[in-house]
Symmetry: D2
Subunit: 379 residues, 4 copies
């Protein structure tokens, strides 16, 4: 099995919810890059639990300790970068019943079936959403590297329950739409501290928070959709077929717990469109070929078009709910009722926003390094 | 770049629309398996063009020639299996204009940007949907191997334009639903020759064919959704995070031209569900733990639950349409109007049905071989 | 299992000695390179059997048919390049006894043990030295690409039985030694057609041919050593530890049948040297840092030093000999005497010369593409 | 670049000589294995520096801290196992001059060339032999797993300067030779604590220690050869060509600093042997097919024969010597004389013994897991 992805930039994620530490090793980072550790920590904070009413009260500083990969000037040095986050606030006692009774919607049963009872139980072990913290360490570094090349990435909660945010203005690729998209990204990123919930439209945030609060009150949880965009990609990054941009992004995104769907550009709506509606025409702008619309979500044949890369991912409602659920006792092989205790987010969509950005950044950086724009030097 | 996927079962796809041949190399097939070449050919025929009114009139026998990988008893012999399909019916002349004017919705422009004009132009080169033929060769072999272990795979067109087929009865995992699902699969598979369009419900097929015919008449095309299911998977196949079943399927599916979205189980509908609705409870059935519903689409934490694996993929409308489109002349860097000639499907969803089955089979077989159910032998 | 290697340049080799065809797929070639098919064919001829008294009388044209990967100008087009060689001269009948009685020194028994009798028997199946033909197709293309960047590769037979050729003048890196090395390479490469045996010193060739002739007369075979050098590598290509130049070369070289040893630079002689003898001092030459000696064989820490890459590989005596040998009958599980018939080289060292060049070229090209000299663009 | 190897068992090594920590992540370990941490620590101690007169006086506890991958019973849990060793005794000050003046024989210059000055300088950074500590952590765990399947691995110093130990009795595969080999392994392993130097013959150890002491006195160092054997391998493990046992071992071995040559079985001596001498005949023993000799070193066609796997690796003299050496000043681009200070082994062969065992164990375990003996279950 593998908790590892990437071709040229290889990311290995390790740890369990309640192991001594979690972390990542990133192999293949370009050398000589001066890491901004403050900015990385700030990015990590966006994912960290325990911040507010709608996320789990478990508090973790989530301060990554970089133990290798930098030289004494704080620059990447060509060697693999390893980062650790020690788990400080573990409460294994909460999880004793779960050794016998798998939680519906979690990987408890499938891990038991796969590893014949040797899986690490507390907190969901290696399957815990906590493992998205080291993904964010790696992604946060990738974001800084991409920013140097003018690539900017942002995500927001597009939907919680039936409440919707204003979507990114990224299905059109006109100068006006591009400006508007930039404003949307500015609003999200400048304001994410003061703004308590990552939406473009503040009213939508209030509706979503209400929906989450209501679910919590009922001992239940709600799902959502996260939308993510990357601006500034030159045309020509990526490759055909199985290592294309869509596939590379998909492999990381479907490694995020709770994700059940992924679509690019117009996505599932293509089903009811005609070719003449869906095809993106080309024009010349500033001497460059540009698609004037972006139903393709910035990628054709696995390769970037130069328009924004746009994806949406569906995030299921947190499986851990307070309501009693029907499960089984694996030791006695009889049915059993489960009441999940412990600390859980009633909706993970908000915390999934930086995770989506991390996934986008890592997939793009790997594609960039594997198929560099300058790769025509040979001929 | 890479037209290659898989960990233990590695599939390499080669060829261009109008190259001398297209084909695949499959490395890692279990040895000693007696291949049924007739059944493989029959599977290939379901994807082949030129069969009827709603697919491209280009006729290709699509008869794969297996040049290595079998012993003299026709069994897999442990060596890589290579299969070729020679391109017999190539009309490069149709594509001369396309050297200068990229077709919207195709990879013509992105390939040009990536390879600085060295890409193979006729028919879309390596990006052609024709390259799904060798994927089907590999997938057709995987289907036969999986059938030996009781795994059965089928797909159908769930939607074309706004016309919908009856969905697979796979979101519930009761004995009755399982029986019904089996009947749906029987209907699709026993009847695919007589049944001119791969839907469960014949009336839906008629409506879809009408929608396609109407698009064709208007020089246009339509999109669709294909749904695919795999039955008989034991619990415990797959692995956590980036090599999980969802990610492995996604990498192949997003390598299929025209796919813009992928969802598992309940998919994007999870956004508006609560945890108590979406979680799949467990019960004991015949001494085994089984989920009673299947919103998860058969996979939790990347590992199979034992319920059917279920995915839906969105297929965009064929980009090649007869209507004039706005594009650019890459040599003169000016705008240009394009009228695509050549032979094209007004809707690729029907032909994508065996391709979806191939993708499912290859991802499952690779996962099975990488994480075999018997892998607890060590301890 | 895998007959596949490489990180960015991925080469997949397929075929069996007597399958319909053998071949390779090369994924990741730079696009826009005009292939010289005549030069490739000439390179292939150096490996081809049936040329003279000391190689197998089996005649194969070994003319590779490139079925994909080129555009209509004969340039690489970014898509995987697939090449086939059809086996024309197969005589399966020679090998019937071998289904039961494995040949000592061949992989007959190990393949039987691994695949439980499903292995392809005739000619050694996938383990046949014939499979070095597609390796040479891939390597021949890599050689042409590297030549564009000023990298030149040559090999020669350094030893057969106890007869030795003059070694490459590559352990010293002075201008005089470099000139001498160039002359040695010229002699080998300009003359390989007229020169019937690939040595630098013609007298050595005569001695080696005598040794081979004598072994043949006795129904026996002899081993040898092949030495290979690459000139013109800039410093800084390759990477640390397991993907270093030594490891990348080793993986390909140990995939060549009959190779039992590999050493770089001074090789095993380092054991009896001191650090002060073995360390290569640096000097400034033409404004560049250069090592003045080359005991390291051109690589330190897996990365090129700028001095010639130098390796030697030990090639065992052809296992197929006419003398009777002790083996077993796998069906009756009793001991049996084997007399190998069929057509075999009494010494494979001469034919291994282009194979060594191919291995060197492919490992270097993959390293170059994975760690391009321009990869500092990020910072 | 990559400090990562393996197909099913993937090992990622990180750290620099003077970074905060070094470590490894092992992905793909079978679950449910109860790790013996004492035995692991004992194995680590054999590699650790600072033990005696002929190794570096730098003292490091080398106590690996396992931060993830175990369940609360101390068993592997299916999740990646991560282990760290914090660097406690770093003296960066020793290395200031090396920022400008690369040490001959080390990777200082090649790392500078590759990373344009961003490499981590102190102690050789990621290229330090210190990085073999995490390799030994991974290898020590693999050794324990393999022992469960009856596979036993040992290595010894075969040569230092011109002093030679008794070789393993592993080129013959008779019952008597097998017994003798077992006694040799017993002697090495039972006695490694009392026995101050890892040879089979105590007298050889004394000669080698004298040679090392003499080199040290002269401010110099000496090279050596390490021989490693694995007993108990069933026939049929491994795969053809580039993922064969030889290639898999080679990739790890050539990732060990200072290794310049590798040979299997008879190794380079095959050059002067005939086929009738070198081929290993088969016989039936206890109902099993066994080769009676083992010139092949236990592998034919990349697959195990059932005889001991045997390799020898050449280890160059420690590049760090006290004698003045000719180098260059990279800032001023002028020649410079270097006198290496710091703490160094005058011969690394003794410490390379457990490293060779680790490499053997990891390559075999990966091959076993990738091509399990039970993989015929499909057919």
């Amino acid at each position: 099995m593998s908790s590892l992805f990437g071709t040229t930039l290889r990311v290995s994620i390790f740890g369990q919810s309640h192991s001594q530490a979690i972390g990542c090793v990133i192999d293949g980072l370009p050398a000589g890059f001066k890491l901004n550790e403050d900015a990385l920590q700030e990015f990590m904070s966006r994912r960290a639990p325990g911040q507010n009413a709608w996320s789990t009260p478990r508090k973790e500083a989530d301060a990554p300790q970089i133990v290798s990969g930098l030289n004494d000037r704080g620059e990447t040095c060509g060697a693999p970068l390893a980062a650790l986050i020690y788990n400080t606030n573990t409460r294994s006692g909460d999880y004793d019943e779960l050794r016998r009774v798998p939680r519906p919607g979690h990987a408890d049963f499938t891990a038991w079936a796969k590893w014949h009872g040797s899986q690490d139980v507390p907190g969901g072990g290696h399957f815990s959403a906590r493992l998205t913290a080291p993904l964010c360490v790696a992604g946060g570094i990738a974001l800084q590297l991409l920013a140097q090349h003018g690539i900017r990435i942002a995500a927001h909660v597009l939907q919680v329950a039936d409440k919707k945010d204003e979507p990114f203005d990224a299905l059109v690729n006109s100068p006006a739409a591009n400006d508007h998209l930039n404003e949307q990204m500015d609003a999200l990123q400048s304001g994410w501290k003061s703004r308590s919930f990552p939406t473009i439209d503040n009213t939508a945030a209030e509706h979503m928070k209400d929906a989450i609060a209501q679910a919590r009150k009922q001992g239940d949880s709600v799902g959502g959709v996260v939308e993510c965009v990357a601006r500034g990609m030159p045309a020509g990054i990526g490759g055909p077929r199985y290592d294309g941009l869509q596939g590379s992004i998909a492999r990381v995104v479907f490694g995020i717990p709770a994700v059940k769907g992924l679509e690019f550009g117009t996505g599932f709506d293509v089903a009811s469109m005609t070719g003449s509606q869906n095809n993106d025409p080309y024009e010349i702008r500033d001497g460059m070929v540009v698609p004037t619309t972006n139903n393709a979500g910035g990628t054709l044949g696995g390769i970037s078009t130069g328009a924004p890369i746009l994806f949406r991912m569906a995030v299921k409602p947190t499986p851990s709910i307070a309501l009693p659920q029907q499960s089984v006792d694996l030791e006695e092989m009889r049915e059993a009722t489960l009441e999940v205790r412990g600390r859980h987010d009633p909706c993970v969509a908000a915390r999934a926003v930086p995770i989506a950005e991390a996934a986008m950044a890592l997939a793009i950086l790997d594609s960039w390094l594997t198929f560099p724009p300058s790769s025509s030097e040979w001929t």
